[in-house]
Symmetry: C2
Subunit: 438 residues, 2 copies
């Protein structure tokens, strides 16, 4: 019973319809449920696309097939070769009468987590048994939408003439100030895991790629323990030359808008299954300045002063007021990394933006500094040593175009799209301070 | 001079044609070359798509524009607003007469590496100054083809109904026997960098995703120093349920074939620029068994016995004989990892395959073991402890379908497509034992 031999699936469960009456099909999947009466067995087979009912009447199938059907257990792996029989009384207007059933693999009982149960277990149990958890159609729907999100985003980039790049995740030194790094021992040397492709994508602008994108892992050794942070995440990064922060924001609007449109078109069943209150956003999003955000927060009783980074309380107050997708622009220069371009007319304010969904920051971007001298000055002013940025800085000396870009958190954007309030729901195998397995 | 303000590029260099005579354009890019005579300056501007000539006659432009043009230096970043003037004697049948030139950033002189020089520097110098190296159109062509390769592969997967997954790169223990791992300190715990998504993609099969793919970094702490190994690489991984190794090979043929077809269609200029001897392969590739490969090697005087992994000498002998793309199938079980399914009729031989291009292995795959008992036995037989595979093994106990898959080395496949003989040519910032920067 261990090879599938000459059998191949002819249809997913959802592809079989009453109009196929009389046709022979081969179905493969899991035993979702089994009900064996005296002379009749009902087997519901589940595959990625749904479930389908096979009816096994003792007098219509051969002896062995009936015996196999009666002995099936929950979550066994089976293949059914059978005939579609239209039947108005059956749930979908047809049933499948098996000609032959093969058991391709058995499942032990009891299951540590039952995919057919209505009530979900605690998230930690579910993540420990993720392979069982993702058999639940609602969980799988999250990852089908996530997959379509990534497909859509790459298509928008490709259609816009962006070149996909792969930048290294093993790096010799900190790429930005502030964020904590994971150290690695790299043969005889010390190395770190990249916390962002920021410096590399900027160097690509000096390299003349004009517009690039990368979707890849980032690693941050922050000791957060929240519902919106992980220590390993997927970042959607882009950088483009000869544009300013407004062009970068327009590209972000396009990427996000297309995602909603593509998911609506390609994943309607998953939207329905997750009971999402789905609405394609406007093609341009609301924009408020940082100063306006501070005013909103203050008006709602949150104590925060101009120049501080937005606290959680401030984000909540502003998210409450704004709802949905909106940009916060014109940030105080002191709140942003050294590579952010300050305004010429007032260098206390810089050309940075965040894209928010309600109280959740999902993307950060800016027009970048492209002048060598200003960059060196900024690095020094922030208390870092320009010497440790040598290979990066060199790229600014020999022809660096003006450029802008952003990073969009894939896991956070997936949270928004699937209306989840814990980032762990949108990551197959999340990594946080406590969790390193499975 | 530091903001691009209201100017935006209207055309890339290659988009301007003589038929646009009289039209105003804005071009942006690098000063590829500058030749200033007494009353005339020739500026060749280079952007991602090519080069374009601007002619600056003193008597036809205003004084400031002529002064700016005369002071331009190699690799300065400029924007030219000008008029297209058809001129049969000009290189492309037209020239651009500037109305205004803006210098957006200056380049220091001398350049540590000159992108306009015909003869390339040594690879190490080039990699040290990668941002200058990739300004050379031939180098950029490699990465444009690589980007199209990735786009094409994902499209083949998406069209085939594969779900894209992201599996973790921070792992608690070795995923396979043998290969060396990079250790990380992960807060209070020890962790490692993933050397392959193998175990995760198999767990996804137990999860019911049916068909998945992932394109992501893999990390191997091997002390190789060759032209075909790196310590950080991009792996194109897939796993599919209810199929055998032959189906997996057919999918690989489709992925590879479509790549050639898509690159031919979408990147003809880069194929020409790299002078590639381009040929779309047949839709199915030659297949020889491991035993036949050994016979070929022996016949060519290479000493190798049945049961050994193919040595470099054997690979060269076989590659010589076979040429192009071909599979080696039916490997001795002892040469493959524990998760490879042995044949039922002869368990010394297993359902594994390699895809080769001449002497270079570019992909490895197999039908996998889906039976818990056999897997535990294999792990023990290979001298490893099944307890350290606990979360992986659990996925085989509760309904694991038969499955098969492969990993295709993105960097190696890019070598094949662009006819490079050093993997470092196809990776923007390669990582090897010596190199951790830039």
């Amino acid at each position: 019973m261990y090879l599938i031999a000459d059998w191949r699936r002819t249809h997913y469960s959802e592809e079989v319809i009453p109009e196929m009456d009389g046709q022979e099909v081969i179905l493969m999947g899991w035993v979702h449920s089994i009900r064996a009466l005296g002379k009749l067995a009902f087997v519901i087979l589940r595959d990625r696309e749904g479930t389908i009912q096979a009816v096994v009447p003792k007098q219509k199938v051969d002896e062995e097939t009936f015996a196999i059907a009666k002995k099936l257990g929950k979550e066994d792996i089976i293949a059914i070769r059978g005939k579609v029989v239209a039947n108005e009384k059956a749930p979908k207007g047809f049933e499948v009468i098996p000609i032959e059933i093969r058991v391709l693999n058995k499942a032990d009982a009891p299951l540590p987590l039952d995919p057919s149960e209505k009530v979900a277990a605690e998230i930690d149990t579910r993540l420990d048994k993720r392979f069982l958890d993702i058999r639940r159609p609602k969980i799988q729907a999250i990852f089908k939408i996530r997959s379509e999100m990534l497909r859509s985003i790459r298509k928008t980039f490709a259609d816009g003439g962006f070149v996909e790049v792969n930048t290294p995740k093993l790096v010799a030194s900190a790429t930005e100030g502030g964020t904590e790094l994971f150290p690695i021992s790299y043969f005889e040397k010390e190395a770190f895991l990249g916390q962002s492709p920021q410096l590399y994508k900027q160097m690509m602008m000096a390299g003349g790629f004009d517009k690039v994108f990368e979707i890849a892992q980032i690693f941050r050794a922050e000791e957060h323990n929240t519902r919106r942070h992980l220590n390993e995440a997927i970042s959607i990064d882009t950088e483009m030359s000869f544009v300013n922060e407004k062009d970068a924001m327009a590209m972000l609007e396009k990427v996000v808008y297309n995602c909603y449109a593509d998911i609506e078109y390609n994943r309607p069943q998953e939207i329905e299954l997750l009971e999402l209150n789905w609405e394609i956003p406007e093609k341009t999003f609301d924009k408020i300045t940082y100063t306006e955000a501070i005013d909103i927060a203050n008006a709602k009783g949150v104590e925060i002063e101009w120049g501080e980074d937005l606290s959680r309380a401030a984000e909540r107050a502003v998210g409450d007021e704004m709802g949905g997708l909106y940009f916060i622009t014109e940030w105080p220069t002191q709140t942003r990394p050294f590579y952010t371009l300050p305004h010429k007319h007032d260098n206390k304010v810089c050309k940075a933006f965040d894209l928010m969904y309600k109280e959740l920051e999902i993307s950060s971007g800016a027009q970048r500094v492209h002048k060598y001298d200003l960059l060196v000055e900024n690095i020094s002013n922030m208390g870092m040593n320009p010497d440790s940025f040598e290979t990066y800085l060199e790229a600014f000396k020999f022809g660096m175009p003006p450029h802008a870009g952003w990073g969009l958190g894939a896991d956070r954007f997936a949270m928004v799209l699937t209306a989840q309030d814990n980032i762990r729901e949108c990551v197959l195998f999340p990594r946080d301070r406590q969790r390193l397995t499975p």
